[in-house]
Subunit: 445 residues, 2 copies
């Protein structure tokens, strides 16, 4: 693991902006073809998690390093993992004064500085860099190619919901897809879930209702309201769909559990729902209904980002979903963030600065070399770029793909379509690199 002395603030020149912090990154040079050959660099741009987890989960670099003879670089996002400004996570995550430097523009500038540093360190001015990222990191990869084309030759933006801002896409899209995957997996399961919300509320309203619910769902702590269970189940279903892939296929597991009729035991609707939890989370002595929203450093940092800049208006509009109706309300969202942090979000900034909303009109004649890959069974795909824009701005979709599946580790059991998708991605990147190498030869001669 390496550390880079990074500027706190790239976009002002106040004395405070000169504060620095140690940003973590990693390099794997064992397959690199060297500076003389201008051998490429594959750079993973970290998202809202620690580099440790990325290093074990991201396969695209490791699996393809030898083929590209590439230098592999992994960079941790500021304010995550060990890349903490202000000396400690406690200070960095304290309030808007310290969190204020946590945003996408600063993160992109961090990546620019580190990648230029790596090129200098390896004395390889002309090695093309391909940036890779998933989800929020996929947005960063696409944005990086658009804003720093002189540093990254191209980008693989996996499951990047670049268009899930303001009113560009239907706000209900995320949960519409969650619903559809459940429905397709089992109509009966879908119907059970659909009916469950009212039942949770009904039970909660009875005498000792919360106690009954708590017992039924084996919660570790007493409940404050039916919303504890409902929010928990919401996350269970979303998680199951986002990562619904082999060998386990979570939606199938959850639905099998929900649909099952155990012998010699009478079960009711909520027993079925609770069985779904066990199927996804595993057998535990008790269940923490807050398990998806623990105040970990990562979650605290991401909550700030989604309450300042990355305002994705995901809602439950009255439409064909299996969830209770609850549209996204921007005004109350803004108020909530402002009362929590003391500063309001700037929900228009992403579209002002990155402007992907008019992707077809604008990028058709501007920009190049981005793969927007999306699995259409991933709820976030509703925010993805789902059409080819030009010869080199390419949308790649798979019907059954889940969230960021293509950049995960290769495995023997991978379905044929996934193997083919990755192969196609590699071929496209290969063609960018060889065009670049030819351009370079012409310029040098």
């Amino acid at each position: 693991m390496l550390y880079f002395n990074q500027n706190l603030d790239h976009f002002t020149f106040t004395p405070k902006s000169y504060m620095t912090f140690q940003q973590r990154y990693a390099i794997d040079s064992k397959h690199w073809g060297g500076a003389k050959a201008n051998a490429p660099i594959l750079a993973f741009l970290g998202e809202e998690s620690s580099l440790d987890s990325d290093l074990s989960a991201i396969g695209f670099l490791r699996d393809n390093g030898p083929r590209f003879k590439a230098l592999l670089v992994y960079i941790e996002h500021r304010y995550y993992g060990k890349s903490m400004p202000f000396g400690s996570a406690e200070e960095a995550l304290k309030n808007a004064s310290t969190l204020g430097y946590l945003n996408a523009e600063q993160a992109l500038a961090d990546y620019a500085a580190i990648l230029l540093h790596v090129k200098e360190k390896y004395s390889t001015k002309h090695s093309p860099i391909i940036v890779i990222g998933g989800s929020y990191g996929g947005m960063l990869a696409a944005w990086f190619r658009l804003k720093y084309p002189h540093i990254a030759l191209g980008a693989l933006a996996s499951s990047a919901p670049l268009l899930y801002f303001e009113d560009i896409r239907p706000k209900v899209g995320y949960y519409y897809i969650v619903t559809n995957v459940f429905k397709k997996t089992s109509e009966r399961c879908y119907n059970t879930i659909r009916r469950s919300w009212q039942e949770i509320d009904r039970v909660a309203a009875t005498p000792n209702g919360l106690l009954i619910l708590s017992k039924k769902f084996k919660t570790c702590a007493p409940l404050n309201g039916s919303f504890n269970i409902k929010d928990f189940m919401d996350s269970i279903y979303a998680e199951a769909v986002q990562y619904n892939r082999g060998p386990s296929y979570w939606v199938t597991s959850v639905c099998n559990a929900i649909n099952a009729n155990p012998p010699n035991r009478k079960i009711d609707l909520l027993d079925r729902i609770s069985a779904g939890v066990v199927a996804l989370v595993g057998n535990r002595s008790c269940y923490d209904t807050n398990m998806f929203a623990q105040p970990t450093n990562n979650n605290i940092a991401w909550r700030w980002q989604s309450c300042s800049e990355i305002v994705m208006p995901i809602g439950y509009d009255k439409q064909d979903t299996m969830f209770p109706t609850s549209p996204f309300n921007m005004t109350s969202f803004i108020d909530g963030c402002e009362s929590y942090y003391g500063v309001p979000p700037r929900p228009h900034w992403i579209t002002t600065y990155f402007g992907i909303q008019d992707v077809k009109l604008i990028l058709r004649r501007f920009g190049s070399n981005i793969i927007f890959s999306n699995g259409l069974s991933d709820p976030y795909s509703v925010g993805g770029v789902l059409e080819d824009i030009s010869d080199t701005l390419v949308a790649m979709m798979t019907k059954n793909g889940s969230h960021c599946q293509d950049i995960g580790l290769k495995s023997k059991g991978d379905p044929e379509w996934l193997v083919m998708q990755r192969e196609e991605e590699i071929n496209i990147i290969d063609s960018w690199i060889s065009t670049y190498q030819k351009d370079l030869q012409i310029l040098k001669s």
Copy 2:
């Protein structure tokens, strides 16, 4: 004149970043073809001066507004004219803590916010915007198209020394061109100037030498050293070349004065040099040797910019110039800025963020719709993009053009080549707009 409530800092979300200031801009809508026709917007991006002076000097918008049926927008740069953060120029220009928010990235984001605001105000979502600027403002125009292609369809970057950073171009280039224009105008004049520096030093070193010099140059204040005169003359020659155009042709005037042999009077070398000053500045009771570096608000603000981000390494290397040798020394430049402001410049940031240095390799397959116009008799042209990059990234050069001449006011006496240059610029912009309008029709149908 209009004012826009602008964010102090677009790139952090600290409580302080939410401070706002009133940014001045102006709109002329009398020729506009309207939202229904998606009639275009010509937007002038202000540089390091007050909007008042731009409004009177910039002709490109006024002269071409009717032809394009364009809405004309002029925006003042933050920290110049009346667009002062922190309530007053005194506060804004005080020190690095307040000046720190004065930089190109923030200025571009300001322009983005105002242009989106104007489009909303005129309910014209799809009107294409062409941004125009000169010198530093020309860099801003080119950078704006590269960073905000979804807001500006194209840019006319007049006399923009985009490549005068780090070691991209010869540091002596500016003064090499100054020299050449003088030499071409009059070899004798050039030789006189070339010999004058030593003579100034020689006289200064004699008893009462500074007094003698002061008298010879009719300086308003006593001299602190020969450098007062030398720096002054340096600016006189540079200014004369930068704005050497009809009807007055300053270099010719200055050289005529330097070469003249007044009847009935014996004159020496320094009398000739002094006559050059009178020719450029006019007949005055005395001459302020500091006239080009007065601590006006504009100069204070620009000094900060050139000591923080816009570090253009203009030097006097030992080469064929008419100036004394004095190479640009980055280390002492950095030290000087740091001791003055308490923070050092970041001389690599422009190339990191904008990366125009590899213009041929990178922009050949990325970006579109920029005219880089340069007069080759303008000293700043040494930092210009002087080759076509692609069909729509076009270098336009004129042999005799001076600094920002093409975007100045049209006049009856304009030389044929200038008329043709402007015509060609208009045709290129026209073609961008009509391609865009066609794209728009296809997308809508």
